[in-house]
């Protein structure tokens, strides 16, 4: 049992992150398309199934793997090859301390739904992600290309600068939760939305959010790869799978950043207004409601898809895609909803209740995280890019003092409160 949990803990988080990457890429492509009044990817298909363009990701993967992997002459091969590996490693490993659900009591053991519940969880995240800058630096330096070098330098100075603000904002959270463990911070926020940290620490939230954009090198802080200025920055010379690793690392960073924002400021796995205990005790009722809601939504989408069917639209297998998804959805919705209505709320065993609560919490976490991950894309296609000196000024003269101010204000308020209560 222990070994099973151990293996699951090792396997699930990286798989989760890695699986989120194609989803993010799909978000990016489809989201940017709709923002820009385009259709986005909709051609690639397997036996007519396109999944709204997700199949393009498979095509991308095949393309990237089979492309020629060029290592230019005069590069430092060791560092050139190592850099993308560091990037993806850092991207995946940081998820380890983020809890996906409340701890679960299995028999006598308390199982944390996270890889490691470190008491310095947040510092672990910063420590690991601060190593991420090496991938960019080494890539920029070893490529032996001036654009890459400029990209590497931009990345290094930007990431070091914003790490400070990032690190200082969470001090306020430590003070509130009286712990640096991520799971503690999540638990401390409780199910009440107004007690979540984005309400309690609004300034910290905004600074953290901005700094996270800078740390992940996303627009408006995408100077290290600012394509109109320095071609592709640090990954100018990379091709094939090594480029793909950088590409994936960027999305992995976004996923992790979204997970962190969720955990630190939006209650992590907390379901609004429902404690773990509520979920467990009322599990049958909530399960009933959930099944009905999901069935209803499935029914709606199933009918929507079926209504889209038009023979001869593409004159190939793609015509039937809506049916392939629509019919099962429709039938499942009917079956699930119907059985739920007639068999009524089901009694659940203890383990079922626990499992249900954990699943609901994980879903809550996933929904929040997906929203913040999408936010990265939304911002990217809305804002222009900063200039190098503006980034530096903003970081050092704007964000850092504000982050310090946040600590002071939080401290004063806590002391004042403590005095009044004590």
């Amino acid at each position: 049992m222990d070994i099973l949990i151990f293996i699951l803990k090792i396997v699930i988080p990286p798989v989760l992150v890695l699986n989120f990457i194609p989803l993010m890429i799909w978000f990016e492509r489809k989201g940017s398309a709709y923002i820009q009044e385009r259709r986005g990817p909709n051609r690639a298909h397997i036996l007519g199934i396109r999944l709204g363009g997700i199949i393009h990701n498979f095509a991308d993967v095949i393309k990237l793997i089979t492309k020629e992997d060029i290592i230019p002459a005069n590069v430092n091969r060791l560092y050139f090859i190592g850099a993308p590996l560091i990037a993806i490693f850092v991207g995946i490993v940081t998820i380890a301390v983020v809890p996906l659900a409340d701890s679960v009591q299995i028999g006598e053991k308390l199982v944390h739904i996270q890889v490691a519940d470190l008491n310095v969880g947040i510092l672990y995240v910063f420590a690991i992600s601060s190593l991420g800058v090496y991938s960019v630096l080494l890539a920029g330096w070893s490529s032996n290309n001036k654009y890459s070098l400029l990209g590497g330098l931009r990345a290094a100075s930007q990431m070091v600068s914003y790490e400070l603000a990032l690190g200082l904002t969470v001090v306020g959270l430590f003070m509130l939760a009286e712990s640096a463990s991520v799971s503690e911070i999540v638990r401390h926020q409780g199910p009440h939305v107004l007690h979540w940290n984005f309400v309690q620490q609004p300034l910290a939230f905004i600074i953290f959010w901005i700094a996270v954009f800078a740390e992940t090198n996303r627009t408006p802080f995408d100077l290290p790869e600012g394509e109109s200025e320095i071609v592709a920055g640090y990954h100018t010379e990379y091709s094939s799978m090594k480029f793909a690793l950088f590409f994936m690392a960027e999305y992995a960073h976004m996923v992790v950043a979204a997970a962190l924002i969720t955990a630190l400021f939006f209650g992590g796995w907390q379901v609004p207004f429902l404690t773990t205990l509520d979920l467990k005790t009322q599990a049958p009722f909530y399960l009933y409601v959930t099944v009905l809601t999901v069935s209803f939504i499935a029914l709606f989408f199933g009918l929507l898809l079926l209504s889209q069917f038009k023979k001869g639209k593409y004159r190939d297998a793609r015509d039937y895609e809506v049916l392939v998804f629509g019919i099962p959805l429709f039938l499942l919705a009917l079956a699930g909803g119907g059985s739920a209505i007639f068999t009524g709320p089901w009694a659940l065993p203890e383990w079922g209740r626990v499992l249900f609560a954990a699943l609901v919490q994980a879903t809550s976490f996933g929904i929040k995280m997906t929203f913040f991950a999408f936010f990265f894309i939304w911002i990217r296609w809305t804002l222009p890019r900063f200039r190098y000196d503006q980034v530096m000024n903003f970081g050092w003269k704007g964000m850092l003092p504000l982050a310090l101010l946040n600590i002071v204000v939080t401290g004063v308020v806590l002391l004042w409160k403590g005095n009044h209560h004590g």
């Binding site: 200025e229 222009p384 190098y388």
Partner: protein
């Protein structure tokens, strides 16, 4: 209009009695032919002392009169413009074959620097005291001077190895701050000719200290297609397709500009309907050009979404030009004496539909950017050029107006009845990147306004003039009458033959003043066609504009100048 011209020549003759060889007026252009000896003094007098003063050197070009009897071999031609009265004067200085040298006027106008380099490159005329007399369009190591009449048009030359190219640019690693403990070296960075932000094939070599640009050199000519040489061996009508390729973002405007010049030397007036159609296509082209310029500039600033909003609108307008001219990019639409095809009602509805998309695009983009803090920080007070410098560099069009000079040929020397339209000329105040972009925004709105007016008052009538020496006769005439057949045959085989003479005509293109200087020897082929590309002076100034800024500023500045390499390199 004639009086001041006469005054100018009179004053000049009084002031320099020994140096003025001849002065005359033809086709509405005042010409003064002077001896080359005191050219700087004469031009300084025209620039500074005479009233009205001619502040702007609009164009400087050379002509090779090898095949003309009793004429000096070369001539350097200066076109001056007064910004106050909008008078123009042409000063010609003949040079002998044995001594093709003349004093440089680059101390008077900054614009002269690059113009004189081009004349040196093309004709081998040496300009004394020029700061940097090197080839500009042709590559270093090119033998001969291509626009000389004795340079065969078919002659091809191999481009030498890349090393020469590097020597051509004077930047080398410099040591600076030597007093420091650490001797730091600057970094030389090549931006272009193949670079995401260099739209076309433009190249900058910059000397960097960190990210700050210390010096910059622009290298042009990668897209040189010998437009001027080519035109000399084509009939006037055959030149029109070449003009498509000048500013390929607004090809119809180039067609109109060239046709306007030829009609000026022919002395013909096109029918009112043709005029109105030309106004419509010109303004459509202006909108398309601005859309591309702005969209590309926004992409370079990292705001990619705006690109799609603008290109969506541009596609809709392209659909209209496609219906009108049968082509989207290289339209080849005007004919000398009119336009090729008439505008049809469904094109008019198409234009109205396109304008709805355009309005929305402009609204969306201005909402996204106009008050966006990052956008303002990136563009305001970046790449500032003062009014005086802009005039000295020969800026025209939106870039000049962004500096606060309200010069617009459509208002100031109206052609095609532009004075009968109700529109405003937007003017900036700071002359920075932001102003240049915002002026274009407003110009699109004004152009749309002009087109709306033109569409409502589109007069009926023919779209070509009836002159059998210029316009092809109707097909029924060709098949039905011997005279029509003869006319058709003559125009197709011989071409249009304007009288001997020279003419400079300027139209307000999207990027500024598009000038065509045509020298005709009376034959069917132009003896010399000089195109004054509006973005040539802009590019010349960009070297100075980017200094002291950062790489990101260079990208923003180049984007805001709208350098179209097809027209720059010709």
């Amino acid at each position: 209009m004639n009086m001041p011209h006469n005054n100018i020549t009179k004053t000049l003759i009084e002031k320099f009695p020994a140096d003025v060889i001849e002065s005359h007026e033809a086709y509405g252009d005042t010409t003064v032919i002077v001896k080359k000896g005191r050219i700087t003094d004469i031009l300084r007098f025209l620039k500074e002392e005479i009233q009205p003063s001619f502040e702007m050197l609009i164009d400087l070009c050379g002509v090779d009169y090898l095949q003309w009897k009793d004429s000096a071999r070369f001539e350097v031609v200066y076109h001056l413009l007064s910004l106050k009265t909008h008078d123009r004067v042409r000063v010609r200085a003949p040079l002998s074959e044995e001594d093709p040298t003349i004093d440089s006027v680059s101390p008077l106008w900054k614009a002269a620097d690059w113009y004189e380099r081009e004349v040196f490159d093309m004709f081998g005329i040496i300009f004394h005291r020029h700061p940097n007399l090197k080839r500009i369009l042709m590559f270093e190591g090119f033998e001969g001077h291509p626009l000389r009449k004795d340079y065969p048009a078919e002659k091809r030359q191999q481009i030498p190895t890349a090393e020469i190219d590097l020597l051509h640019l004077s930047l080398q690693n410099r040591h600076f701050s030597e007093t420091d403990h650490l001797p730091t070296r600057s970094m030389i960075l090549n931006i272009g000719p193949s670079h995401p932000a260099m739209h076309g094939a433009l190249r900058y070599q910059v000397e960097l200290d960190g990210e700050t640009i210390h010096r910059a050199v622009a290298e042009i000519g990668y897209l040189h297609r010998a437009f001027e040489k080519h035109s000399e061996s084509s009939t006037y009508t055959q030149v029109i397709p070449y003009t498509d390729r000048l500013n390929y973002l607004s090809s119809m405007m180039n067609n109109v500009g060239f046709a306007h010049a030829v009609e000026k030397i022919l002395g013909v007036e096109i029918p009112p309907r043709a005029k109105m159609i030309r106004v419509i296509v010109c303004e459509l082209s202006r909108i398309m050009d601005h859309l591309v310029c702005l969209a590309a500039a926004f992409v370079d600033l990292g705001a990619l979404t705006n690109f799609w909003y603008f290109f969506d609108a541009r596609e809709k307008i392209y659909d209209c030009t496609e219906k009108l001219a049968g082509a989207r990019l290289t339209t080849n639409y005007t004919r000398i004496g009119g336009v090729w095809r008439d505008i049809s009602p469904d094109i008019i509805t198409g234009i109205h539909k396109a304008f709805k998309v355009l309005d929305k695009a402009i609204l969306d983009v201005s909402r996204l950017l106009e008050r966006n803090r990052i956008f303002i920080d990136r563009t305001r007070n970046v790449g500032i050029i003062s009014k005086e410098d802009a005039v000295s560099y020969g800026y025209t069009g939106p870039c000049l107006r962004a500096c606060g000079v309200p010069y617009d040929i459509r208002k100031d020397q109206p052609y095609y009845d532009y004075d009968r339209f109700d529109f405003d000329v937007p003017v900036g105040s700071r002359g920075d990147v932001n102003d240049r972009l915002m002026v274009r925004f407003e110009e699109m709105r004004q152009s749309a306004k002009i087109i709306q007016q033109a569409l409502t008052r589109l007069p009926p009538g023919p779209i070509m003039i009836e002159d059998p020496k210029i316009a092809l006769p109707a097909k029924s005439n060709v098949y039905g009458s011997i005279e029509g057949l003869m006319n058709h045959f003559m125009i197709v085989t011989q071409g249009i033959c304007p009288p001997k003479g020279e003419v400079y005509s300027a139209t307000e293109a999207a990027n500024g003043e598009l000038g065509f200087y045509i020298v005709s020897d009376g034959g069917p082929r132009p003896y010399r066609v000089r195109c004054r590309p509006p973005c040539f002076p802009l590019t010349a100034s960009s070297e100075r504009l980017v200094e002291g800024g950062m790489i990101a500023d260079l990208i923003a500045i180049v984007g805001s100048l709208n350098i179209v390499v097809g027209e720059l390199d010709r």
